[in-house]
Subunit: 382 residues, 2 copies
């Protein structure tokens, strides 16, 4: 199988990550922060070192402002619902995943907030103007994805942050597709809160994610045991416990830490460069291929992360994805949980086929896919 | 190290569980239910078979009514917050963990619900009367733990259920300490919703849990990508997706499934019997030991799960737990995230030392602990 569905979850996981998970079952098998014995303490230290690693990797506001979650969706819900108050206005981009748009829509339905969607275009100035046009006196929060999970657009985070700062608005970033591929530096880029999955480009196991923030999250959405301040019926107000009720995924966190170490050592820029080289090769071939619809005119590395969405004329994306599957290639067709992005690109009826590589993808894989696609595109028997 | 902190998380995990996690990284490495390719499908099937296993093990209402969560705390929050409406009254027992009491307290603070706490005593009739006395016309929900996580009390679930049914009230059970040790059969016992951790007596990895229900959960507290009905901005109303936004912990779930298989094969009753035998031995020795405070007069298997809480006269429980730790024994002192239980037993000032065995605990372990404790209790040098 050629696996090009890394935007859903990366595969394979490095052996070092699997070994770290394995080792944790023996070395860090106690519940961290729950009991006073050495085994619990050692486990807590292992978790703390993972917090430090994430904080350092994303230029965060301190290890205590890193809370582990089951996934990025939970992190986003926790972050968004943790800051908005009745009457607030929220702005989201037109490329958001359902993990942003659904909670925002639900908060609106419940009469808690109002929200607007600003359109992201291939013209950065236009994008920023679209954003500014949506700002009102009630705007509390802007939530944007770092990278479109369907079309690969890299959003101009620093410039969006400048706008947010100017108006005293919080900026939250969905790092689902960006983390580990494009540089995300919270303090440098002026990000108040960054939500990430552990299992995509950070190479950790499924079941991991985190919310990193500057202390702005005022409310928890989950209350429960934190191992601290046990006698209070109120959720503790200290971080990270406030946002981390119940037992956390220690094996997953140990794997995630190792994944980030691997990425750090190799360098996010090099990951981007390697994957971009392959996707550029693919994009350029697709540009000249008959019956292929692409969603940008050129491959611009500045604003385009290594994910390619395309369609074959006259075919639904699911049909093409199925043909890929029958020929041993895993890609994702359909809507990728991102109706806003598909509306933005006008692909509401067909969806799109998404090819998302990882550091394990090779030129040979890309060539196989191109050959296959050529046959599909001209309806040749396979 | 002698590990007797299994009520925090069980250790060690069986090799079969670790192997199942390991294998999942290779065999079930795609995101389940997200893409149409075989690899994603196979992963979804592995997850589905785990749903079936849980549904069967807990006599649930169907595999679609099993949603995986990060832990039991999240499951309880999701369940409780998913059913209550403004004006509802909720009753909880006096032995609840903070994962029940904190969300209920928070809902009350927000003016959404009112709640009452009924006292659990060693007299079942009295306990049931206490419960009945708290029922009002507005009572929507009763939440009780199956087993006290501190003092080991087994609550009379079936009788509580009869009361709940009589008054048309929902019964939710916190299975944190009960699942895998005492029989929990939802349909048979009339439980509307059961929340469980995967990492305690079910022998799965930390980072796993589940909510099993009869379809009563009307609202989600987290919205996001579900891989289904992508084009809707509303959270899908079908189970299990409604309660399962974002990527789930596939490696953990594969481990949990194996853990439940191991328990099923051996039999929950046998687990209970084995652990009870050891705790009975310990309890009886403690009864005759000087300076030891116990919290029941006799070891009654009918109403007492294999967890022992005790104190040493004149010492804080944390001090005793530290002495245990210095001598290579892991137990938990303090308050165990359960202030209500400590108030019920009058241990608010000292906390208690909790000894919680697993299927890997031996008679030798218990004897070592008893010897150690004898020295601690008479202040002998160790």
């Amino acid at each position: 199988m050629i696996y090009l569905d890394n935007a859903a979850t990366s595969y394979p996981k490095p052996n070092e990550v699997i070994n770290a998970v394995n080792k944790s079952f023996v070395l860090y098998g106690a519940n961290p922060g729950r009991s006073g014995h050495n085994f619990s303490w050692n486990t807590a230290m292992a978790v703390y070192s993972a917090r430090e690693k994430l904080n350092e990797f994303f230029d965060g506001y301190g290890s205590e402002y890193v809370s582990f979650t089951q996934n990025c969706t939970y992190a986003l819900n926790l972050a968004i619902k943790g800051v908005v108050k009745k009457g607030d206005h929220v702005i989201i981009s037109s490329l958001e995943h359902n993990s942003v748009s659904r909670p925002v829509y639900t908060l609106n339905e419940k009469g808690i907030i109002t929200y607007s969607v600003f359109k992201v275009t291939h013209n950065e100035e236009e994008t920023l103007l679209n954003l500014k046009n949506e700002i009102t006196e009630k705007t509390k929060l802007i939530v944007v994805t770092a990278v479109s999970n369907v079309f690969g657009d890299i959003l101009p985070i620093e410039k969006i942050s400048q706008v947010a700062k100017k108006y005293g608005i919080l900026l939250f970033v969905d790092g689902a597709q960006g983390a580990g591929v494009v540089p995300l530096k919270m303090k440098k880029q002026g990000i108040n809160c960054l939500c990430i999955p552990g299992h995509k480009s950070l190479l950790g196991p499924m079941g991991t994610g985190a919310v990193l923030h500057d202390g702005c999250i005022a409310e928890s959405i989950i209350e429960g045991g934190t191992g601290t301040d046990s006698f209070s019926l109120t959720q503790p107000q200290v971080f990270p416990e406030k946002l981390e009720s119940g037992t956390i995924n220690v094996p997953g966190i140990c794997g995630l830490k190792k994944g980030i170490e691997i990425i750090s050592m190799y360098g996010v820029n090099n990951v981007f460069k390697d994957e971009t080289e392959l996707m550029k090769l693919m994009f350029n071939e697709l540009m000249s291929m008959r019956n292929i619809i692409l969603y940008r005119n050129e491959y611009n590395e500045e604003s385009f992360a290594p994910i390619i969405a395309f369609n074959v004329k006259g075919k639904h994306s699911e049909e093409v994805a199925n043909l890929f599957n029958e020929n041993g290639v895993a890609v994702r067709g359909g809507f990728h949980c991102s109706p806003l992005a598909h509306k933005t690109y006008g692909t509401e009826s067909t969806g799109a086929v998404r090819v998302s590589p990882s550091r394990f993808t090779t030129k040979k894989d890309v060539n196989y896919v191109l050959n296959l696609l050529q046959k599909i595109a001209i309806n040749k028997k396979m």
